[in-house]
Structure formats: structure tokens, C-alpha cells
Subunit: 433 residues, 4 copies
């Protein structure tokens, strides 16, 4: 045991009336919701990335956090892992997830990086034997090192493509070894800073080819998890190719990979792309590519990725409503790709940010389940489209412009608008909160 979280005990459920900061008020892991334990609905995962690797910097200031594991040695990496698993235990987190660079120091080159990743993978494997925390997903960070400054798969330099492919292989191996349930690709530098030096067609072909290689390798090694792409519209680049769910869908269709790859949708990235989170979830579900979620919010008024811990229960309700309607998670889960505010220096802040986020999600899930069970919202939706379920409605879909024009003329069809009832439905949603 490290003493980083000295004095902080395992967080327990105490119910909504508790005023203990260090207790769950809504997240009660084994409570059944729609017949399934809450923890299996939510499938929370702690992200190594922001919680253990981020030093607290922003574009105008450097490190604010002082963590004993900050350093470039394997000992530091192991201390970080020790603290991380202690936090998983305190939170009762069923999953975690990581980038390669979060868990090992940067080596001299590919070989050293790989060796270090293997060493820490073994260290994780050992820890996981005595832990209830499993791996939701692994991924490769192909954006922080300067070699990736112009992209990874879409780099103009084929050597960077090669380095990226090789690195992805090692990260897929690590993920597979640890029983990860998904493998994620986030293309933070797959995009451009200026169109003036960019060949869109060529870079798209490179990205498509890389994704095909990933899918092939998955099958080759027998990895049963899901390959996930995490869309984001921009930042750090001017334009990122995995802009949003609709864009990723077009890309997958173009390369025939729409049955092989799903999306990991982040609330903050949805918002930066001009969409509501629930839009992206509903769209992915309707296209058959819904996979997993990053439940970290953006400030609606900050034009960069603020990656804050979630706290608005009505918004989470709408999100989990889409998750439940989509049939719930299969391999996916709820990841906090969230970072503490850089002024939140204390170990308590790290724990309590997760506690609050988990509780807010749990409250949202419960409201969403009530809404789905009650059925009034779906009934109203179905009633609105009822005309399409008539034989006339169905026939229309099989008809053609000319036949329909005759029909409209003959029957003097002159449709009368009906109320969309938006405010009533919004009121209805507020009832379940």
C-alpha cells in the first residue's frame, strides 16, 4: 500500500440522504435496474490518462499537480500503477483503460517502448489477479510525441505510418493479454493544421488502410473485443478526420468496415462538433455502430476540450436513455476521460471527482430506466409516426414520384400540421428526474 490516499476508505453506497462526501448517494452497484445490476449497466472505467498521467498543464501554464509517481523511470511507472489500483479499489471501479504512454516512460525508440509496455503489462496482469477491476480498453497514444506532429496513419512520412502501425500492434497485444474488452483508436492528429499542405484523398486512403490492418490483426490474434473509433471534430488540429459519428460512418462505409468497427462517443467531443450527446448516441445506434461512451462533459461555452467530470443529471438521463434504448452496452462501458480542474490538487479531489461523476451517472441511469419503463415517451413518439404503419403509409415507401403526384392530385391530399408537443415532452422528461 502506498499512502497516497491515506485516510480514504472504500466508498460505499449510503443513499440519497447521506451527507457524507465520501459515500455514493446514487450508485449502488448491485441494485437491479430493469433487472440488471447497476454496475453492469454502467460499466464504469477509470482512465489512466487524465487521472494519473496529466500534470495539470494548460496552454498558459505548466504542471500544478505534484505526484510522487511523476518521473521517467519504470519505478515511477509501477508506483503509478500501485496508486491507480488502490484508487480502483477505493471506488469499486469495475474497469480501467489506458494509453501506452500513460503507463510506461518513453523509451529511446520502438524496441524500448515495446519492452517497457510488456513489463508494465505483466505488472498489471499480476495486479489484476487480485483485483475486481478489468480492462475496458487499451489504446496507443499516437499524438503526443513530436514524431506524430503531422499525424500517425495519415502522416505524409511513411515511416511514421510504420511506427504507428507497429505501436498499435504492441498495444493490441497488451490489450489482448490483459483481457481488454475493446481496443480504441483516437485520431488526435489524424487531420490537418492547414489544407495548403494536405492531400485529403491520400490521407483518407492511409487511414482506411490502417484501420483494415487493425481489423485484420484483431482477427489474426483472436481478439474478441470491439474496435472503437472515438470521434472528435478538432483540437489539437484545425480539422480531424473522425469529426463526428456521421463522418465516421461514411468513412467506415467507404472502406467496408461498418460491421467491424464501432464508435466510442464522448460528450465533450459531441458538443465541440455542434451536436448534443444524445444525438450522437441515437445516431450511432440507428446506424448500428454504437459502442461505448466517454462520459466527460465539455463546458458548452469553452471552445476547447474541457473534459470535465459530469454533473448535470438531466443531461445524463437523456444519454443513458439512448444507451438503454440501444440495448445497453455489450463490450462498451462508461469511461471518464475526465480531468480534474488543474486547481484540484489534493488526493481527495481525485477520489471525489469520480464519486460525484459516478453518482451523477447512476442518478441519470435510474431516471432513464424509469422513463423507459413508464413508456409514455416512446408511446408519444410511436403515435406521432403512426401514419407510416398503415397500409397507405407503407405503400408510399414503395411508390414513385409520378404515381404519388397522381394520388395527391386525385385525393386532393392537403396535409394538416399537428402539434409536435415539444414542451409537453420536456415536461414529461422532468417528471422522471
Amino acid at each position: 500500500m502506498t499512502d497516497f490516499f491515506h485516510g480514504i476508505d472504500k466508498i460505499r453506497y449510503e443513499g440519497p440522504e447521506s451527507d457524507n462526501e465520501f459515500a455514493f448517494r446514487h450508485y449502488n452497484p448491485d441494485e437491479l435496474i430493469l433487472g440488471k445490476p447497476m454496475k453492469d449497466h454502467l460499466r464504469f472505467a477509470v482512465a489512466y490518462w487524465h487521472s494519473f498521467a496529466w500534470p495539470g498543464g494548460d496552454p498558459f501554464g505548466g504542471q500544478t499537480f505534484e505526484r510522487p509517481w511523476f518521473g521517467e523511470s519504470m519505478d515511477h511507472a509501477k508506483l503509478k500503477a500501485d496508486v491507480a489500483f488502490e484508487m480502483f479499489e477505493i471506488l469499486g471501479a469495475p474497469y480501467f483503460c489506458f494509453h501506452d504512454v500513460d503507463v510506461r516512460p518513453e523509451g529511446e525508440g520502438f524496441a524500448e517502448n515495446t519492452a517497457r509496455l510488456r513489463e508494465i503489462t505483466d505488472y498489471f496482469a499480476e495486479k489484476m489477479e487480485n483485483s475486481d477491476t478489468k480492462l475496458l480498453w487499451g489504446t496507443a497514444n499516437l499524438f503526443s510525441h513530436r514524431r506524430f506532429m503531422a499525424g500517425a496513419a495519415t502522416n505524409p512520412d511513411p515511416e511514421v505510418f510504420a511506427f504507428s502501425a507497429a505501436t498499435i500492434k504492441t498495444c493490441m497485444d497488451a490489450t489482448h493479454k490483459l483481457g481488454g474488452e475493446n481496443y480504441v483508436l483516437w485520431g488526435g492528429r489524424e487531420g490537418y493544421e492547414t489544407l495548403l499542405n494536405t492531400d485529403l484523398a491520400r490521407e483518407r486512403a492511409q487511414a482506411g488502410r490502417m484501420l483494415q490492418m487493425v481489423v485484420d490483426y484483431k482477427h489474426k490474434i483472436g481478439f474478441k473485443g470491439t474496435i472503437l473509433i472515438e470521434p472528435k471534430p478538432q483540437e489539437p488540429t484545425k480539422h480531424q478526420y473522425d469529426y463526428d459519428v456521421a463522418t465516421v460512418y461514411g468513412f467506415l462505409k467507404d472502406f467496408g468496415l461498418e460491421n467491424e468497427v464501432k464508435v466510442n462517443i464522448e460528450q465533450g467531443h459531441a458538443i465541440l462538433a455542434g451536436h448534443s450527446f444524445e444525438h450522437e448516441l441515437a445516431l450511432a445506434s440507428s446506424l448500428g455502430i454504437f459502442g461505448s461512451i466517454d462520459m466527460n462533459r465539455n463546458d458548452y461555452q469553452s471552445g476547447w476540450d474541457t473534459d470535465q467530470f459530469p454533473n448535470n443529471v438531466p443531461e445524463m438521463t437523456l444519454a443513458y436513455y439512448e444507451v438503454l434504448k440501444a440495448g445497453g452496452f455489450t463490450t462498451g462501458g462508461t469511461n471518464f476521460d475526465a480531468k480534474l480542474r488543474r486547481q484540484s490538487l489534493d488526493p481527495e479531489d481525485l477520489i471525489l471527482a469520480h464519486v460525484g461523476g459516478m453518482d451523477a451517472c447512476a442518478a441519470g441511469l435510474k431516471a432513464a430506466a424509469r422513463m423507459l419503463e413508464d413508456g409514455k415517451l416512446e408511446a408519444a413518439r410511436n403515435e406521432r409516426y403512426a401514419g407510416w404503419e398503415t397500409s397507405d403509409g407503407r405503400a408510399l415507401m414503395e411508390s414513385d414520384l409520378e404515381t404519388i403526384a397522381h394520388l395527391v392530385e386525385d385525393k386532393k391530399i392537403n396535409p394538416q400540421p399537428r402539434s409536435g408537443r415539444q414542451e409537453r415532452l420536456e415536461n414529461l422528461v422532468n417528471r422522471y428526474l
Copy 2:
């Protein structure tokens, strides 16, 4: 002759040094650019919609323009046509374009609408016999009348789908009869106000089916023009299905229509979707769906569609550079879907807004042509990707993760970043202006 433009003569080219407001300084229709007359590059079209039908209202105020043709009779419609063709003549506009509701008064229902559209189509046909102005495209306005408040093809009421299909047929007929070179679909209400009452999957199926019917009907009647979708992300709705080029591409792929339908890209809509205009143009070109452009700009800082006449030559240069790289327009052209500011009350304002816009486009085209002819920008771009043209580069694209990982390890591949030279390229572009 009406006397609306009393005292305004045909606009002529007088060259950059002219200080005559009523002359072109850059648009010289027959001047050869890259071996083709400027007018055939630009293919300007005046839009009936904003120039003759818009009364000057905004959400906080009503009509400001007082036009003698405002009124609900066919005589008003014909006077409007008379003035429009006088303006085409004054500007030397090679094309025009229109929605059905721009050119005829609203009737009691479908039959009367159709009869009125036919009458005005005949009136147009007559005028076009004595005019050099042709029809770039026609389209149906399926968003202004209250029957379309919840969408046209994607309406929950099948009767609205039917009314829309029938109306599209009549507009395609009119376009075909007038020799239109394209038919446009802009889905201003194909989207939603609230996800709470919306079934995304169902509405997508409806939209796909309608588009298939349009394509089928085009072939049936032998219309040789291009079917164009005009993307826009939102406004009037919260979310529109034809969000941007990438979204439309995914939709076309989904329904197998990517070889039948292209896009009409508006600068203002590109910006509202978070993209630069040149991004949307380059993307459409790289996906093989580039069709036509609406060259009206948005204010970058107004979150609604301002549809202003274009005036920033450097931006137009980048736009026409993409058009030229895409091989230029085939059936498409440069449409001004632009509206006067509502304080620009005078007939002179209407003429001069077009003159300024045409001149700005012409200046942009000429700069773009110089840049393309000079070849330095393309040379720099190609040089950046040169590694992919080597045999090693090509081999990589055929390889797999495992082989590549061995390669990287064996050859100790450790890619070194090279300058992206963004500022130098930006300086280079400024040289052609």
C-alpha cells in the same frame, strides 16, 4: 421594360482601375483563364429566392423592401419575372435558379400550385428564347409553408411525404422543360427540433427512399442534369440531416446513391458546420461528389445563416483553387444564394451587390489560376508526400501490422519530423493575390 432599374445600364468590364461603381473591375466574361473564358469557369447564377422573393424580414422585424411585384397574383409573378430577366440582362448573368414558391403565388392546394408553376414555366420559357440566361437549377421549397413544419420527406405524417414527392415531381418537370442543368434538394426542415419526438432511423429511411425516387424519376424523364444535395448543419431546425459534405457522403453510401447525387456547397453552411469553405470543396472533390457552389458568405461571428454577398478575395481564391483542382464545374456553377442586407433598400443596391460579388469571384478565380499555373503550391504538397511514392512507401500500404512491427524493430525506424511550412505556404498564397 419595367422601370424598376430605371437609369441602370448593362454592366460592362472596365478593368481594375475603373472607379465606376456600375462597372466590372475583374469580371471580364470572355477573357481566357487557363484557356477557358472566365464566364465558363464561373458560371454565375442569380438566385430568385433572395433577390426577388425575400421581403427583408428577420426574426425581429418584418418587411423592409417595397417591391412592385410583392403580391399574391399571377400578374405580380409575371412582373417579378420581367424585372428578374431585366436584371439578368443588366448583369450579363449566364444563369438563374429558383424555388417553385419564388416564382408563383401559393395556391389552394397541389393542383393549383402545379397549374401556376406550369404557367410561369411557360412564361420563363418564352423569355429565355430572347435571353442569354439559362437555368442552372430548379428546386422545390419544402420548408416555408406550415405543412412542412415537421419536415418534408422525413415528416412523421405520410401525407406530407406524398405532398412533397408530388411537388418535387412538378419542379423536376419544370426544371427539365426549361433545360435546367441541375436539380437541387435543400432539406431545411429535414431534421428535428427535439430528439424527444424523433425517430432517426425511420426518418433516415424516408429520406433515402425519397432520394431514390428522385433519381429514378430523373432517369425516367431523361433529365440529363445532376441531382444536388445542399448540406446545412442547422437552422431553421436544431439539427439537419444533410449536416455537411461528410455526412451527406455517408448517407449516399448508405443508400447506394454516391454515383447519382452530388453536393451543392454553400460557403455559409460550411462555416456553420465548423468547416472552412475550401475544406468542404476539397472533401467533396476527394469523395467524387463535388457538384456546384453557393458563393454566399456567412459572418463568422453570427451563429445564423447571414447569406451575405461575398467580398473577401483571399477566401474566394482558396475556394476557386479547389474548384480548378477538381477540374472545374461540369453542370454546376457559382450561385449567389445571397441576400441584400435588409437596410439595402434601393434597386442600385441589388445590382451593385451582384456586381461586387461577381467581381470578387472573378478576382479570386484569376488568383487561383495563377497559383495553379505557377505550380509551386502543388509542388510543395507533392514533395511532402514523396515518401509514399517510393517502393517502400507503396509496399507499406499492402503490408500488415505484424510485418510492419518487425520492420520497425529490425530497421530501428525512428521517424524525424519535418517542417510543415504552413506560414511559408500562406505567404506563397498571398503572392498570387
Copy 3:
């Protein structure tokens, strides 16, 4: 009695468990909150403007609502008033508010406008004798008619300034006569479309002078209400002079009116200016100019004023927390400057939108009161600044750079950062919801 709301009875409080759409679940007018009846905290006002005068149009479509009172006669205006007062009664609304043009048809000129306004004022006065609904504020619409297209007080044409001043006088008279508790100025066209034709200094002087005249006239007629400016950053114009609270404050200081005029803050306008609603409230309070609120929300992702009915309780909690901290409303209140979605056609929609909005506000007020009573949030805030309450802290504020530099050097002052505890405070807020 008209039969517009046929079948809809007075809305009553039934408590949170009620599933009656036509009941309040949170708004219980006489329930004491912090010792004051809820209705006196909230001081709800129904806005004539959107609820009775707006036809449902947007920039891409016309009227969707069909109301029996739509028309240009005084009979229509009186029918509208009849229905409005019936709605006030159904909702138990303690206040209403209006623009002149909402309540009377447009006349031939100033004299007819004035006569009509007087006639309807008398009609209101009569109705108010038998009603519990009072007037929160009146205002003049100086933006919809084409004469105001280039501004009212800030118009380049002094005749428009004169017309505006005269109209304001009549609206102040009407407000005074009806016992209005405030008089509002919203400068929807006080701004510019293009800086190219605008003289900022001159227009500012005009605006300042007009405001001084308003204040003088208030005193002259003995109006005891508050003069309120409603800030908005843009739309309909490119830039509006009353951009936000901070801008209005600078303007008031410039003209020495900061003790005479306060602000009416709209959630939607706050957001369009890049601020949270609670920011604008807290800032106004800290500057001593907090007056009243428009509790209609904007869609965070739509760049125009969506003016939706409020529904997010956590956001309203933060808003009313600031109101309570500011000491609550004096003459101000909670106005819904909110419009139905244009698809919400039915009389029920109009009632239920208000019911939902009032309930959401009531829920927010109650949570805010709990938070304030509990005191933990204020305790944490005070503790954070505790250093400034020491004698050393106080002395610093009276010192100078040189003395302080010596002090820092001598005492080797090297401040150590302390956690800002943001997530803990966010969790804390969630406890009161």
C-alpha cells in the same frame, strides 16, 4: 369567456408525485421559502410578446399558429387581451408584461398608435380590476417596424430618434397608468449591421442622451418603478450596444446613470454573449445593477436566440441562488420571454409550456434556498478568501508596489497553491437538487 382554452381548468399544486400534466408539481405559490411565499420570490410574469403576438415564423418559414385574435383591428386586440387574461388566471400568474406593438395594431402614424395604445391600456386597466395579475413591466417595440431598421435612439436619422422618444413616452405613460413595477428598454436595433456606415461615438452619445431623457421623464411623472436595460450581444444586428452586463455597466458609468438604471438579464442572451446565466446575475449584483430576469433559455448549440421555455433544474438552481444572494427581487421578477416551438400548435401547448417552466423555476428556487440555508457553499467560499480578512491581508490592499516588493523579499514570501475544490463544490451543489 372566450373558449380558446376550453376544457382547461385553473392549474393547481398537486406535489411532486402528481402525474397530472395540468398540475404544478413544484410551484406552490403560498409555500414559504426562507420565510417568504414562493410566489413573492419568483414573481412570475407572462410575456405577451411571444405567447400572444408571435405567429410561429422563423427565417425559413411563416406563420404556423392560427389564433382567432390574429388580425389588425382593435377587436382582435381586445380578443387577444381576453384570452391573455384567461391564461393569466389559469396559470395564477401574478404578473404580465408587454410591448406596445404586442397589444395594439399598428396605426398610420404616431397619433393613431398612441390612441390605440391608450384604448387598450384602458381595456387592460378594467380587466386588472378583476384580476390578481399585475404589470411587471411595459416597453416599446422599437425594432420591428421598418422605420427602426437602422436603430431607434441610435438611428442616423434624427426623425427616428424623435419618433422613438415620443413612443417611449407613451409606453411609459401606459406602464405608469397600469401600475407597472418597471420599464424595460431592449435595444434590438441599437447596434449596427456594418461598421462601415456607423459612427460609434455619435450613436453612443445618442443612446446616452435618450436614456437620460427616460430617467428624467420617470422622475417627472413620479413613476416609482425601475428603468431596466436588457442586454443582448447580437441578433438581429451584427453587434448590439447593450452587449452584456459588463458593457451596460460601462455605458451607465459613462453617462452617470449607474444608480438610476438596472438590468433585466435573459438566460439566452447571457449565453449568446459567451457567459453563463449565473455569471451575469452575480456580476450585476456585484455592480449594484441587478434588476430582473428573463428566464428563457437558449439552446447552447444554436447561434441565434432560441428563447425556449426553461427546463434544466440544476441551471435554474444556480440562477436563483444568485437571486437569493442578491437579496431577491425588489421590483423585478421572473419573466418568460419564451416562445413555444413553432410546431407546438395547440392551446394546451401554450399552457403546459408555462406550467413546466414555472415548475422548473420553483424546483430551482427550492434547491437554491436549501443550499443557502445549509450554508456549506458560502462557508467554503469565505474560507477560501480568509487570508484577506487578516490584518496582513487588509494592510496589503492599502500598500504600494515598492513596499510590497520589500515585504516579499524580506519575508521570502513564496505562496503555496491550495486546492480550488471545484469538483467537491459541484458535488455539493448536486446534493441540494
Copy 4:
């Protein structure tokens, strides 16, 4: 001589037809514009901050630049100064500017920081004796070190206020010693991350007091330069107190400092606040607080401060038009607070980014001067307001609501709108480009 810029000679003016990348095409320092040398109009300043101190990081990636002067010793600092002065010479830059932390390594505390700043100030002083480059302004970086994470003057901890005050004193001393013509305050952390832990009134009082101390100290030491505040709306914080020009004006009025302090306006910050650059310039001028400019642009579509080198000549024309109308710079100048794109690794990139930026500014200045000399734009503006120059117009400004109401009624004043001519004016501007 270091050999960092090996092979790059002094940049010389070669005229618009030159195709030498390493030449000015528009910036001809001694060419007279409106009777004054171009260099005295533009007063270019190179910023140490981005050009020499920034390592190329962004929130998703670290250092990309490899500069021989990166390091924490005074030798590194001197090497940096050597290279910087070589660049000033190559560019012929008349000015430079810096933050304390740009020029010296961070020490153990205040005393060491001060000693190091003094040492490097002396080193600068020596270099400046043999250089034509002067100091435009100095400033203190009170935002990067973790001690400032919760603000400097507005910190909840008085010790941070003290440390900040002491640091400002040393930076004012250094600026004074080097003959700096201004002293700048940019409050990057003067704002908040969350309103929940913030006391707006208290922090405002602290900020006001600090500014008064700065003004007092300026007078005490006889510094003749101007104190400048640089507004920015947000980033790094959620909200910054110096939001925009209007906000700063209100703040200055509140503390009676509007005659002591002016603004340094950045194009990128203007845009992030929702304003055009020319708006902020014109507003500052109309309020009498225009001081200096940061001519680095933001990407209109990136919601963070991109600080790109300027390149859009039409935009710069509008900016310098306002500068010229304001009478030109007095102590202010044109600073590039611009950073290379992080992929622009080469020394050539650093030089050419400045060359392109300077050239774009020079082209803008020349167009602006032509426009002002020609006078058509100002004539149109004056004509628009001509009614206010009549005796009736002037009388109105002295009148009152009641008198005006009688006047409007008696004279049946019914103002008729006149065209605002926006497009014609936009066309006119394009003529000077």
C-alpha cells in the same frame, strides 16, 4: 554571432513583383504613407514570448521545437537573447517586447527571479546600444507558474497578490530601464474556473487596487510610457475579467483610471469575445482608450487562442483604417503575439512567418491610407448622419420626451427609411485593395 539563422541575410524590400521568399514585397520601412514613414506607422515589435520561449506544445502534445537556447541556465538565456537580437536585425524590427519569464530562467523565489531579471536587463541594455531595436513594452508573466493557478491580483491568497505586486514592480523597473514605451498587463488567470468558489466583488476590488498601485508606481518612478491592459474573454480560465474593450472600459471607469490606462487589443482575443478586430479598435478609439495592437489572428473556427501570424490583407486594411482614423499609434505599435504552427520547425519558418506578417500589415496599411485619403468612405458615413448636424437635429439632443412627443404629433413626423448601402460600401473597400 550564433549560427542559428545561418545563411539568412537581412530582409530587404524588393517590391510586389519579387518572388524572393526572403524579401519584403510591401513593407518598405522608409516609404512615406500619409507623410510618415511606414515604419513609424506600423511600429512592429517582435514578441519574445512565442518566438523564442514557446516549445511547440499544445494540450495534446509536447515540445516540437529543438532550440539550442532551451534550458534553465543564464547561459541559455543569453544565447536566447543573442539569437533574438540577430532576428531583430534580420527583420529590421524596430521594437521587441517580453515577459519576465521569457527572458530569464525561473529562480528559487522572488529574490533570485529579480536578480536574474536584472542580469538579463543589463544584457539587453548592452545589446540595445548597438541595435536599432527598442523596447515596445515589458510585462510580467503572472499566469504560468503554479503559484498563479488561481489568479495573481485576484487570487484568494493575499500572498499571491503580494508576490504579483512585487514581480510587477521588478518588471516595471526593467521596462523603465530599457526605455520601454509601454507596460502591459494581461490577466490570463484574473478570472475564474468556477463561479462556485469565486467572490466577484472581492476579486474586482483586488484588481482595481492593483491597477491603482501600478499607476501610482509609474508616476513615482517617472515612467512616461503607457499602462496597457490586454483584454481576453476566456482561456485559460472559464471567464476572464478583462473580457473585451467594453468590459475593461467599465472597469477603468469604476476605479477612475480611464485616463491613466489604455488597451492593447489582440485580433485573436477580439474574435474569441465575439467581436471583429475593427470593432474593438473603433470602440477603444471612441472611448479614448486605444493604445496598441497584437496583430496575431485567431482561426475563426477554433475556439481557443490560435495566435497565428496574420495574412488576410482585407482584414488588416480594416484594422489599420481604424488605427489611422484614431490618429495612429502614439506609444503603441504592432506586436506579433503570434506563434509558429508547431510543425514549423525550421529557423526559416520563424523568419518567414514574420516577413509574411509584416508584409500583410504593410499591404493593409497602404490600402487603408488610400481609403482614408480618397475620403469616399468617410463622406458616405458623414452624409448618413447629416440630419444630426442640422439645428433641428442638435435641438433634439437637448430636448425631453414630452416635448419631443408633442413635436412628433404636431409635425406628424413619420420617418422614411433610407438605404444603408452596405454592399456598396463593401465594394468600395475592395477598390483600395
